[in-house]
Every structure is written in structure tokens, then in C-alpha cells.
Subunit: 472 residues, 2 copies
């Protein structure tokens, strides 16, 4: 059965499922906010649609890097699915996205012993010159140690053996080591280095490679950058610590092609009383080119796609508009986020919710807003105590909603158990079978219930905090 | 610094360390068995030599498959180390070993979606014919399900998606799924299959491939066999379960070359009273060609190599001879084990101990012997309560000592926490940094103390049980 046939069969199935609820019962304006959350949690837990959609998105459509056929297929699939569910104003907002391709990659450790060195280029890296780069390796354990290398970095390949501190919560640990991936190439280039090797950002490795975006500084010569496994970073470190010379040969075939066409997928469930007030729930449809983006961010996509379906099947149309946005190009450019803001930033967003912290059991909400926002979310999330998703903390609200939250829109991100998320993050191992069916249903339940609360509550959510834009 | 220079420097260092103890104090024949174990545990825990040797064996010598330069280098290194430690009768018993080489490997999933399929050929597999094999895939979840495939296996590639039951202890779970790796090629060939894909034998995977030996039935046509990851086995299974066609293209470059020369490395610490009574402690020096065999079985090798060193530094020469044997070719032929038995099987082995269950914290002893053997080992292992290594159970005693235990010699294997052993077993991820320094020292302590007890105890260990040899 081809993908096309499968998609048709699937769409028909969904249509059949969705039919009974396409004409929702009217809901009185005075509907109490207290009751529906429990009802919505129950309804979300009784559907397997997000899980089955995730299987299709990962097993059949596969990886979805900006510029790839996979992403284009995913856009078409999502549009068809949302239309089949009878969401409103289903559309694709065109977005031009960077088109980076990995090409062939090959490396060898020449000293302290000769053997192949598994590598996975960082997203956006340039390729190596013809014949590759062969150079001695010098190393640091953090960006802070880099200046001390001084002249020893000149002509060398610099290893950034920056560990995610295992004692920190997973996302904090990731943030701690993040600059070694994002900024190391340009920082090392300033010292005259030829290339960088970056320890994969994870805490558990089975010779596992993790990619992710790097950012080149416009003022510095671009040099190639690749991840290596924790195992190999530690092997090189042990050799360097003993004064044994380390030498590596590196060939990366990466290229940047002309920008490609992609799209943000948008669909709505119009508000019955205040349709111009928008509660946005989003995730990103793109993924890295390795693995199938099951948790980054396929699971977020299928949760966001299901929220309106659950409301429909309960006959609920809230006071405000629920807008589902599947952003493109979160991983290597944020063009979807910026373009959405350009086109829709002036509209009245009451709250923006992103689902992008993996497919673990939901635990609560990270809120980017004022103290008033935080207090109100705490109140609205109260009923999620029943599924353990009621912990509300001030924090980051997701990459795709950064332009909106900077402009002062209240942002929320679903927090989930991330104790195994970075095992597979940006990695070939980010695949379907690691997603727990029940956890995914719990995420759908948490998201649906909170979206309902935000969209139905008579008092709107207190806004967020406008940030200085000089950081943009 | 080249390996050769490094080895010299290393050898000199060890010589310097070993010097004070080359003339051990005499020990009275009536030395109580009760005291030395505690003293030996303390001494073993205070040395870092096994850990440093393991680093050299894995980081510098690397993988050690039968027929490889790595194994040859390891044999020379072990001989030099044991000689430098002033063990006695240090020698290499020549062994002819199979010489299998992996060659280039490449596979593609063609349906349900087109993408590369990571594969790692099973040890001993034949290669594919020129142009590879392209065929539909059919699947089973156990050997027992195979006959039901019937004609559907003809011309197909058969997936053996046999899971290690996660609820069983690790080695029991491994044994449960083992036949799907060892016997699947010939079993599927009987039904006319073209090749087999075998789910990697592990319970945790990050797109991780695990190799291991297969055994061809002489009476059946040989067909190629490769491991696939759990992730891909599950993806294929999901497709098959829904009736979606699965098609794979497979190219394996494996070849069998003429037998190569290798050796069992043997060294002794001669008994002061009954030198002809032998307590053998062994491990296998060979490994698979992926990873560096840190836990399979580098850790066992360095533990076995250190036992006599600890005795020497405590000035102890036991009543019986302690013989250290580093077997060759455990992984894909057992030629070292069989040749050792041919050459030395008639000698008086009081006990044979193998250390080959990974580098986890030691928990006790698996004993292949009579009820009398078991009871006596329980008594002798009693003092190991202090380090938690006193649990004694009837069981298997290790692959390399099978010919000896079949002949009725009492066999013991060190049991260790194996909860993460199969994560890296026969896998590129079996590397040095996953070995815990303290656990390795505890293994050395447990092994040294028990070897002392067995070699010093006035009453010899009651013998094991001779098995029927028709199984050989």
C-alpha cells in the first residue's frame, strides 16, 4: 500500500469518526468553567487518534527537515487531516525556509589509534574543503575554557567536550551545555581553528550522535562543525589529559541550497462570542533529518491537532477562537515563527501555548508572563491535579512563540517528564516506539482542558510582559 | 606517542610497581583460611591497575576479533604484562582460529517507506550475492512461530523480532531470545528464505545494533543474516501487523578467510605444596569487531590478570597453583576453549573460574558442580559478604570452561549486576567509560579472595559433575 493510498484510507476513517460532532451543541455563555475540564480529560483519554496519527507521521512520512520532501508531505497531510476534522479556516501560510543538506559524512581517528570516528554534522555546518581536513585535536570542557587554548587552537580541530550536568533537571542541563553546540564553531574560528567536534548533547549514550543547529557569527570565517559521541569525546579527552597526541581526519559534504518553500499550517475553531480573541496552540511540524522526530516534535503536533477534535466531540465551542498552528522550520531557522509573527502578530492573542518538550507524562505548565498571568494559569490549571499536570512555574514558553511572547503575549508551554527526552533528542533514535500511548493521551487531555479554560473563561488571561527587542 | 612506545613505558611502570613483591614471604602451610580474604579484599580495592590496564586494552589496542591485528597485539601485550609481573610459566599456546571479516554492509528499507536501514551482520554470516538481495519481508516473534510461515518464507527475507523478555533477569532474558540469533538463518533457509533480519538482543536501544555468532546447520544452504535495531524491527512489525508490504534491499560483504593464528595466554603462580593441583581463573581476550570489548570481556581479562599480583603484594603463595588463562576466540568458535582442553584437560583442575558477565558490581558466584561443590563454595565465599559478593547459586560457569565442566571439573563464574550489560553487549557502545572503577576493583577483590580460598583450603573443592558428551 503506497503512502498516498494509506493517506486516503486514513482520511476516510477520520472523516467517519469526526462526522457525529461536526455540528456541536450550543454552549451557554454562562457555562461554568469548573465542569468541562474533567469531562474533557476523560474524552481525551478515550481517543487513540493522536497515537495513530503519530505513527503515520513517523513511520510513513518520516523525517521532516526544512526543504525536504518529508516536510512538504507532512504539510499536505496535516492540511488534509484538519480539513477532514472540519476545523475552520484551514490554510497554509507560505514560508521561505533555509535548505541545508547533510551530504556524505566521514571521519577517522588517526591517533591515538586508527579507526573510523562516527560523526553527525551540526545543522547548518558548512562542508569541508575537497580532501577534507586533517589536523591535531585540542580540547576544552566548556566555552569558558576556550580562550586559554590561545595559539594551540590555530590550525587545530577543537573538541568541545561539554557535558550536560547530570545533577540538573534535563532542560537546565541542556541549556548549560547548549552554547558549546550553537556558538563553538565561530568562537574556535576566531582562534584560527579549522573545525570543531562537539560532544553530543545528551546524558545517556550508546555511541549515539545528536545533531542540532549551530549559529555562525557573521564577522568570523565559517568552519565545519560536527557532533561526536560521548564515548569518543571521552576517549579523546583521556588521551589529551595524558599528553597523547590526537589527530582526526574529517570530511563533511554539507551544503546550503537556495531557500525552499514551506508553510505554517493553520486551522481554527472560531469562538462563539469573541472570535477575534485567539488562544493559540502550536507545535512544530519540521524535524531533524535523522530519526523521525517522534518526540521532537511529532508528539506535540498530534496533540495540538487533536484539541479541537476533543472539544467538537463534547459539543463544545468556546467563547474565544482556538487556533491550531503547526510551525515550520523551528529546528534550523525559526522562519515559521518569525513569519507567523509578521503576518499575525497584530491580531489579538490572549494566550499562546506550545507543546514541545517531548512525549513524557505531562506535569504542568511553564509560563512566560506577568505575575498576574502566572496566578491566573495556576487557577485555570487547578483541575489538572487529577492527572498530575497542575504544576505551574514561571519559565520559557517555547521557541516558536518567542516573537509573540517578546511582544507581550502570555506564553505557556506544557511541561512533561523529560528524564529520557535527551536520550533521543535530535537523534536517529527519536522514533515512534519510544512514545508511551498513555502519556500521549495525558498530554492531549492536559492541553485540551487548559485550552478550554483559556478560551472559555469570562475574564481574559492577564497579558504577558513585553521584552526589550534589542535581543532579537 | 605510538602504541609501541606507550606499551614500553607502561611495561616499565608496571615493573616498577611490581618489584617490591617479586619475592613473596613464605606462608605457613597452616595459614588459616579465615583471615586472608579480608586482607585480600582490602588490597584489591587499593589498586587501580586493572582499570588502567583496561584503558590501554580498549583505548589503544581496541577491538580484538579472531584473526585481527588487535587480537594479535593484545596477546603480545598480555604476555609482556604477565611476565613483567613475574608470573611463572608465562606462555602462548598456539590456537588456529576462524578468520571472518565483516566487509562493507548496506541495506535499504524500500517499503513501507524508502530510507537507509542500519544493519550489522551477525558474526560468521556469509555475504550476499553480487547485487545484493532484494525481497519482501515476512516476520515472526519467536522461533516457535516460524513453521507457521510455511510457503510465505520462500524467497523472502524473514524478520526474527524476538524480544528479550524485560521481566526476566538479564542473562535469562538473553537465553530466551538467543536462538533467534544463533539458529534463525538455517531454520529460515529450510523454508526457502533468502536472508534473515534479527532484532538486536538488548532491552534498551538508541538505534543500536548488536552482533553475535550464528551457527549454520551443515545440512542446510547458508543464507546471510544481519541484526537490525529494535526500532526498525518494531517499525517493520507494525507495518506487517497492518498488512502493509515491507521490502528490503540487503548487501553484506562478509567473507570467511583461511584460519588465522592466535593463542591462549597462560601464566601461573605455582602452588607451594600441591603445584599439580590447579585453580584456573580465566577470561577471553578476543572481542567483537565493533566497540572495544570493554565489558566483553576486557574487564574480565584485567581482573584475571590482577589476581596473582594482589597475592604477590600480600606475600601470599597458596598451597595449589593459580593458573591464569586468557582464552582466544570465545566469541566465534570457542577454539581457545577446545584447544586448552585438548592440551591441558588431563591435568588436575580443582576448580575453573571464568569472569565473563560484564563489569557490573559483583554479587556472587554461579556454580556448575555437584551439591558438594555448591555447599563448599558457599562456605568459601562467606567472607565476601563484606562486599556483597557472597550469593552462591547453581548455574552456568562460562563459555570458555564448558569443555572442562563437561568433563566434571567444578566450574564457577563471577556473577555481577547485569542490569545494563546487554545495553552494550556485542555492540559499538561496549567502551571503557561505561566501566565503573569501583565495581571493577570489587570484581578483582571478589575473584582474588575466592581464588585464594580455593587454592589454599586444605580440603580440595568437591568435584563437579561429568555430563554426557553426546551434546558436544
Amino acid at each position: 500500500m503506497s503512502n498516498a493510498v494509506s493517506l486516503l484510507a486514513w482520511t476516510s476513517l477520520l472523516r467517519a469518526v469526526a462526522t457525529p460532532s461536526t455540528t456541536p451543541a450550543s454552549v451557554p455563555a454562562s457555562a461554568p468553567v469548573g465542569q468541562p475540564p474533567a469531562q474533557l480529560v476523560g474524552a481525551a483519554l478515550s481517543t487513540d487518534r493522536p497515537y495513530q496519527r503519530l505513527r503515520h507521521l513517523t513511520d510513513h512520512i518520516g523525517p521532516r527537515l526544512a526543504g525536504s520532501v518529508g516536510l512538504e508531505t507532512a504539510v499536505k497531510w496535516a492540511l488534509a487531516e484538519l480539513a477532514a476534522d472540519h476545523l475552520e479556516s484551514v490554510r497554509a501560510d507560505p514560508v521561505a525556509v533555509p535548505h541545508w543538506v547533510r551530504g556524505e559524512e566521514r571521519a577517522r581517528l588517526l591517533q591515538p589509534m586508527a579507526r573510523p570516528l562516527p560523526v553527525l554534522g551540526l545543522g547548518g555546518t558548512i562542508g569541508t574543503p575537497p580532501g577534507g581536513i586533517t589536523a591535531p585535536v585540542v580540547g576544552v570542557r566548556s566555552m569558558a575554557e576556550l580562550p586559554a587554548l590561545g595559539d594551540r587552537a590555530r590550525g587545530a580541530i577543537v573538541l568541545f567536550n561539554c557535558a550536560m550536568p547530570p545533577e540538573l533537571p534535563p532542560f537546565d542541563a541542556y541549556d548549560k551545555a547548549y552554547d558549546c553546540r550553537s556558538d563553538s564553531a565561530s568562537a574556535a574560528a576566531k582562534l584560527g581553528a579549522q573545525a570543531v567536534l562537539v560532544r553530543s548533547l545528551t546524558t545517556r549514550s550508546l555511541q549515539t550522535l545528536h545533531t542540532g543547529t549551530l549559529w555562525y557569527d557573521d564577522k568570523v570565517k565559517q568552519i565545519p562543525a560536527t557532533s561526536v559521541t560521548i564515548e569518543d569525546a571521552e576517549l579523546i579527552q583521556r588521551a589529551l589529559d595524558r599528553g597523547e597526541p590526537v589527530r582526526v581526519q574529517l570530511e563533511l559534504g554539507a551544503r546550503r541550497l537556495p531557500d525552499a518553500r514551506s508553510a505554517n499550517v493553520i486551522a481554527e475553531w472560531r469562538g462563539r462570542e469573541r472570535p477575534d480573541e485567539i488562544v493559540l496552540i502550536g507545535a512544530h511540524l519540521d524535524s531533524w533529518d535523522v530519526g523521525t522526530g517522534a518526540q521532537d516534535n511529532g508528539s506535540g503536533v498530534v496533540v495540538a491537532m487533536e484539541v479541537v477534535g476533543v472539544l467538537q466531540r463534547q459539543g463544545l465551542r468556546p467563547r474565544r477562537t482556538v487556533r491550531v498552528v503547526l510551525f515550520t522550520n523551528e529546528e534550523n531557522g525559526m522562519k515559521g515563527a518569525y513569519d507567523y509573527f509578521k503576518q499575525h502578530g497584530a491580531e489579538h492573542h490572549v494566550a499562546v501555548i506550545e507543546i514541545d518538550r517531548g512525549a513524557g507524562r505531562p506535569t504542568g505548565w511553564s509560563v512566560d508572563g506577568s505575575p498576574g498571568t502566572l496566578a491566573r494559569v495556576q487557577e485555570l490549571a487547578g483541575p489538572l491535579l487529577s492527572i498530575g499536570a497542575d504544576r505551574v512555574e514561571a519559565g520559557f514558553a517555547g521557541v516558536d512563540v518567542i516573537p509573540l511572547t517578546r511582544a507581550g503575549v502570555a506564553g505557556l508551554e506544557l511541561e512533561a517528564d523529560a528524564s529520557h527526552y535527551f536520550d533521543v533528542h535530535h537523534c536517529a533514535a527519536d522514533t515512534f516506539e519510544k512514545v508511551d500511548r498513555r502519556d500521549l493521551a495525558l498530554q492531549t487531555a492536559a492541553a485540551t482542558a487548559l485550552v478550554w479554560q483559556l478560551a472559555e473563561s469570562v475574564d481574559p488571561l492577564p497579558p504577558g510582559v513585553r521584552k526589550k527587542t534589542d535581543q532579537e
